[in-house]
Amino acid sequence: MKQTARIISIHAADTSGVCSMLYELGGMVVVHDASGCNSTYSTHDEPRWYRQDSMIYISALTETDAILGNDEKLIADIAAAAKDLSPNFIAVCGAPVPLLAGTDFPAIAAEIEARTGIPAFGLHTSGMHSYLAGASEALEAVVSHFCTEALPRTDAPSANIIGATPLDFSVNGAVESVIGWLKKSGFELVSCMAMGSTLDDIRRASAAHVNLVVSSCGIAAAELLRKRFGTPWIAGVPVGEKFSARLASALKTAAASGGCALTCAERDASAPGRKLAIPGEAVFSGSLAAAIEADLGTPCRVLCPLEAEDRLLAPGDLRIFDEDAASAAFAEASGVIADPMYAPVCPPDVPFFRLPHEAFSGRCYRKESLNLIDHPLPWRF
């Protein structure tokens, strides 16, 4: 059945991406949606919810509000709450009902900003796109609003990490491992967008020599920083020994030359023969594929079920738009490394290796989540 998931899950929606990306930055995030939906964005998809405060709210949109276009109620509620909370910024975004009603979030944000004096931005979420779209737009908005000053580069080589959220990296030490790996590779951290850093850290992003994009949701923000400050970026996640070394080398080259590179896509999966299938987010999956090929000699192919620019995919990688396509691609594979929720559509004679992805299965397999960064690959094929 086309574009349908009967058995497997679907990825977290754009609203979850916004909440996840902005969670730690001291901003107020308001999703214009029916009451009760907060648990989707902030509990099932959010491992930080019970241990770290945040300001994520649902507007409790009612049928009457939607019919009457009660934008004023939303604006007044947010302005009143902001007065008590004094957030660093206010982000307002939508769900399917505002999509149908045509709610103009950038315009609402302009009114909120005029009324409160607090920087506000409206985001175009609708629940109809994946978390990557929401996370990308949210981070781009933060960079656009707060990374405005061209600071002198740090004396020592330095980098920002761009695109880190628990939806891709869980909360299992992976992001801390990326930071540790950067330091081992000779780069001080300026900011990590957006886990473990404050908004003030992010304001200093222009001081970095290079940016490391660890998820496709970070590319728009990295591009904005390149346009504003000439900071080059490299896309890839340091997994596996040889690929991590290649990534460190690419970072150093970029810092010196100013050129960008999609290191995660510098592969070729077009040769015939069965390959290890890796469905998931393009930057992480591409990096993992490159790491397995380099360290273990097993040919791999990324299956991309999410929004991704063509340049993020290597020759021979495949876009999969529904579970039938995933199942067919698994049947041709030598094995599958994927979130456990893909297992039911993997043929029984194809080896399946579990790698939970928070954006796909939420908290279901959180206890199994693996930190692959700067660790030896745990598989032998």
Binding site: P106, I108, A110
Partner: protein, 253 residues
């Protein structure tokens, strides 16, 4: 890029004013796009010799897919004016306002402005700002100025007042502002006095005074605007003068 939205009471002559203005801009050498935002989808017909373009909503209904190229939902009319109609849902069903938003989103996806690089974009909008969809043409990034078409008839002025108030409500949103009134005469008693009183009360100029003209009707019967049919006529001159005024303002802004 000059981007104008034309509002006014249903039947007041918005499409006539808009398409004559489009033809006038074209005669002045501008590259023009006219987007009809009325479910009736008859905004551009007199720029197209009476041979209408398929409205976007009809395209979606008939093809069960989104258009992949602008050419699938646009036709070039008099003076090279690119004509697009949003159209509407099946009468009595669906949501016309949402249709306008969907059309605008599609046009953005198809990179209409980047590809066509127009000098002037005209949005011909349904009679009243009844819901969010009908305010879409005045949102940021679309029209930056509104022209309100009215006669001296009471209900036309009533609608004009509603439209003006609606636009004012959006002042903090960065939406379009009202540029002025187009008086489209119906030859009612003390017409100019009534419209001028409304305009003065709201601090708006009357930017054009269009006489009731059999020539407009005669050329529309031929599927043309009067500006196309005979640019030397006095009524055509009014549209050309308005186009020149708006262009001059745009150039000096």
């Amino acid at each position: 890029m000059l981007k104008l939205a034309i509002y006014g009471k249903g039947g007041i002559g918005k499409s006539t004013v808009t398409s004559n203005l489009a033809a006038a801009f074209a005669r002045l050498g501008c590259k023009v796009i006219q987007i009809g935002c009325d479910p009736k989808a008859d905004s551009t017909i007199n720029l197209l010799g009476g041979d209408p373009v398929i409205p976007v909503m009809n395209f979606l209904r008939e093809h069960d897919r989104e258009p992949e190229r602008i050419e699938e939902i646009a036709k070039t009319g008099f003076g090279g004016v690119l004509c697009i109609e949003t159209g509407g849902p099946t009468p009595g069903l669906g949501c016309a306002g949402r249709g306008i938003i969907t059309t605008f989103s599609l046009l953005a996806d198809l990179r209409l402005f980047e590809q066509h690089k127009p000098d002037v974009v005209l949005y011909d909008v349904l009679g009243d700002v009844v819901c969010g969809g009908f305010a879409a043409p005045i949102r940021e990034g679309y029209a930056s100025q509104v022209l309100i078409v009215t006669s001296g008839e009471k209900m036309a002025l009533y609608a004009a007042n509603n439209i003006n108030a609606a636009v004012h409500n959006f002042e903090d949103r960065g939406y379009a502002t009202v540029r002025g009134i187009v008086l489209n005469r119906r030859n009612v008693d003390r017409e100019e006095e009534k419209v001028r009183a409304f305009a003065d009360a709201n601090g708006l100029p009357i930017v054009a005074d269009i006489p009731r003209s059999d020539d407009i009707i005669r050329y529309e019967d031929m599927g043309k605007t009067v500006v196309e049919g005979d640019p030397e006529l006095d009524v055509s001159g009014r549209f050309l003068a308005l186009a020149k005024l708006l262009l001059e303002e745009e150039r000096t802004a």
